[in-house]
Symmetry: C2
Subunit: 140 residues, 2 copies
Amino acid sequence: MSDLDIGEVAAQSGLPASTLRYYETKGLIHPVGRNGLRRQYRADVIQTLGLITLGRDAGFSLNEVAAMFAADGQPDINRKRLNAKADELDETIKRLSAVRDGLRCVAGCSAPSHLECPSFLRLIAAATKGRKRKSLRDYR
Amino acid sequence: MSDLDIGEVAAQSGLPASTLRYYETKGLIHPVGRNGLRRQYRADVIQTLGLITLGRDAGFSLNEVAAMFAADGQPDINRKRLNAKADELDETIKRLSAVRDGLRCVAGCSAPSHLECPSFLRLIAAATKGRKRKSLRDYR
DNA sequence: ATACGACTTAAAGCCAACTTTAGGTCAAGA
DNA sequence: TCTTGACCTAAAGTTGGCTTTAAGTCGTAT
């Protein structure tokens, strides 16, 4: 009786129903049954969805997130993996901080052209040099 | 005589030639001429490419980056825009830091199941609540 | 003179994560 | 009973940023 219609899940989670169906095709969530055609979910799907969103925010792909659920649907999260991801986030954060500082510097820079601002040039050089490293845009 | 062949630009910038041609279609760079069919670039294209990479790293889309070049190809960077982007980066950094801290907490958590760890639950709740805000995955 | 290989083009393909579309089903309220 | 509107399916479309492919061109070294 505490099962939720897909519409209620959508409302509570903030995710559109199409996304919930998509997540189902990826094996991330599973309805417990149907009411007519309508999917019904156990109430704890909300928490599962939170977990998924969290994982996505942390930079995991949906496939990576899927790999963290054991066969029974219970989260089965490898601590090593988590620490590795945290390390990755640390690097990303450092890089973004550098870029942010560069932007601020340029915004307040008094050089007539940005191309005459040494910090800006340094920043550009760094961006050029670092081409091999993981970019923010790899977080889809 | 200091013009660069596309191959040299590729080597110096670390970007494949196909990317350089792609950037050209987007109006981001322009060859100064051809040697036969081969594009030749002014040496300062390297700096321009650094600028583009920097912008991408900062979370600007290629279109946004393109909008920062005046008609003459000289960078024309609006300081307000830069500060706005820096603010955005600040938020992203804060959020990523929270996620990272959460990951570390969970990795070291002694609760038998992650779902019994209060910090983890808090983190999930936060991820659920924050659904409207810009996500990391919007940085393509 | 000729072969090589680095370039050229236009167009299609790729990726993840969804969203949209078109046409259909069905439970519940009036 | 009948309408309504929320749901259903499968398949195609979207987005951005490239990469790949196929077929062709051309400067340079031998």
